[in-house]
Amino acid sequence: MAGKGGAAPSTYSPSPTTQKTKSRIFGNDDVDWVRSDGREFHQCRPAFFKTGAVNAAAGSAYAEFGNTKVIVSVFGPRESKKAMMYSDIGRLNCNVSYTTFATPVRGQGSDHKEFSSMLHKALEGAIILETFPKTTVDVFALVLESGGSDLPVVISCASLALADAGIMMYDLVTSVSVSGLGKNLVIDPILEEESYQDGSLMLTCMPSRYEVTQLTITGEWSTPKINEGMQICLDACSKLAAVMRACLKGPDSTLEE
């Protein structure tokens, strides 16, 4: 664009895309490996939340888990699209997109359809849709930087943004994932760990009600491992909820209770 005119030349990233040595360590059950950020297997990254990140929105929140950084804005309740049918209850509209520089190799920065739909399903059960009939609440997320466990961070951040916007919910929604690496379960995996995982389990719940709104399991899992994974996630979710509640009550929050 700023250079000479004509078609954009094809480019490639000079950074190496694969690290071969690490995968062997993850897979080997005999070696006592440590996580690259020095965490224990069942320790989450330090979580930081801030509400009111975007003034133009009705409610918003910023979340940072290590290198995973997301912003969620909530708009509405506002008029539903003209083409929508009449509805006694409110509608929830979710969208998740990535910045072009979010991933190690530059991406297209397009919408993430799968995450958009997962976010919708994770939140739907927690929102009291009856409180805003005929209208739509829009939940838009932008992943500024992807550092692993992106979807769980987006979901937790979105529920905080909804609370900031004053949308009625049964409870905050928190989400945590674990990766199966060999015989070990690691919680809140970073990008590198996610790329070598044998299986992943993501649990989304309403901690005060002890109700699960979403559970996705991929890869190879045995029943006792699933039980163990779920228990780890549920524990982490309730701790996460405490951090989020503290953020809502904090002095820099605009929420009036």
Binding site: T11, I71, T100, R106, L142
Partner: protein
């Protein structure tokens, strides 16, 4: 808040917020006659501006800029390309401005904001024409490899003067840019050198920073009747529609002047006033930029 005398009984009982929504133009004009604005600024005053470098770890250079509530995140990712035959010793810069749906209630997913491509083009034109970056510095191996700098600017919160904030974030991101040390591997591809260098000789030793000459600074002014409002908010831009954007470089020379129509036809004197305001603003922005870059060198 005192309402105008002519407003009658209905208006005198009206709540300020309702008056602001129903009669936005009159609301602003009651402020303008007192040479003030609803947010307490004087007409020529820009909003508080701040900048932080290195906000995105996955990029080679990045900056976060805040002007009032308007917030921009700019990040540069360096990739390698084969230079064109016409300019074998030059790299390239690709600039893109994005307005994701999070930044404003008017942007919906799937329907890109109208303003985004306009600002994108303005930024490209300004940065390439002001001569801030010497494209020859982006060359790696003549005719074989050169850098393509992808600069992506995301508006995180849109509250007016988008071009000014985007340009400042672009300049700040370039000042933060650290070009990775690379070498040519056996397949003729350029790869990043890891810590031990692996016995390879880097091809761009000592060329990790770009020299930024003549940095562009801009100020958007809003014209309404005889008033000139510097650095308008989104609300001001929506009520009074005539904008003038002036870009000056660090030596005070005019880079570009942009007045995309609008109901107010400006006299030369008004344009001169805008340029004078921009000159003053450029000095402020230079100080802000110097502060953040010098604090980075300390680290």
């Amino acid at each position: 808040m005192v309402l105008p005398d002519a407003s009658g009984d209905v208006l005198s009982e009206m709540d300020v917020d309702a008056f602001r929504r129903l009669f936005p133009l009159r609301f602003f004009e009651t402020h303008l006659v007192k040479s003030t604005r609803p947010d307490g600024r004087s007409l020529a005053e820009a909003r508080e501006t701040s900048s932080a470098l290195g906000a995105v770890a996955s990029a080679d250079g990045s900056a976060l800029v805040k002007i009032g509530s308007t917030r921009m995140l700019a990040a540069i990712k360096m990739e390698v390309m084969t230079p064109s035959k016409e300019s074998p010793d030059e790299g390239c810069i690709a600039i893109d401005f994005h307005m994701p749906p999070i930044c404003s209630p008017t942007v919906r997913p799937g329907r890109p904001a109208e303003a985004a491509p306009v600002v994108s083009k303005q930024l490209s034109d300004t940065i390439s024409s002001c001569g801030m970056i010497n494209l020859k510095e982006l060359s790696l191996i003549s005719r074989k490899a050169a850098w393509m700098a992808y600069l992506d600017i995301y508006c995180l919160d849109a509250d007016g003067a988008l071009f000014d904030a985007a340009l400042l974030s672009a300049v700040a991101a370039f000042s933060h840019l650290q070009i990775p040390v690379v070498s040519m591997n056996d397949d003729g591809k350029v790869v990043v050198l890891s810590g031990d260098h692996g016995g390879k000789e880097p091809v761009n030793k000592g060329k990790r920073k770009l020299t930024l000459s003549s940095i562009p600074f801009s100020l958007t002014c809003l014209l309404h009747k005889n008033y000139i409002l510097a650095d308008p908010t989104a609300e001001e831009e929506s009520v009074m529609e005539t904008l003038v954007t002036v870009v000056l470089d660090s030596s005070g020379q005019l880079v570009s002047l942009y007045k995309p129509g609008g109901p107010v036809l400006a006299y030369t004197s008004a344009i001169q006033d805008c340029v004078a305001l921009t000159r003053q603003r450029a000095r402020e922005l230079q100080t802000i930029l110097d502060e953040v870059t010098s604090s980075m060198e300390v680290d």
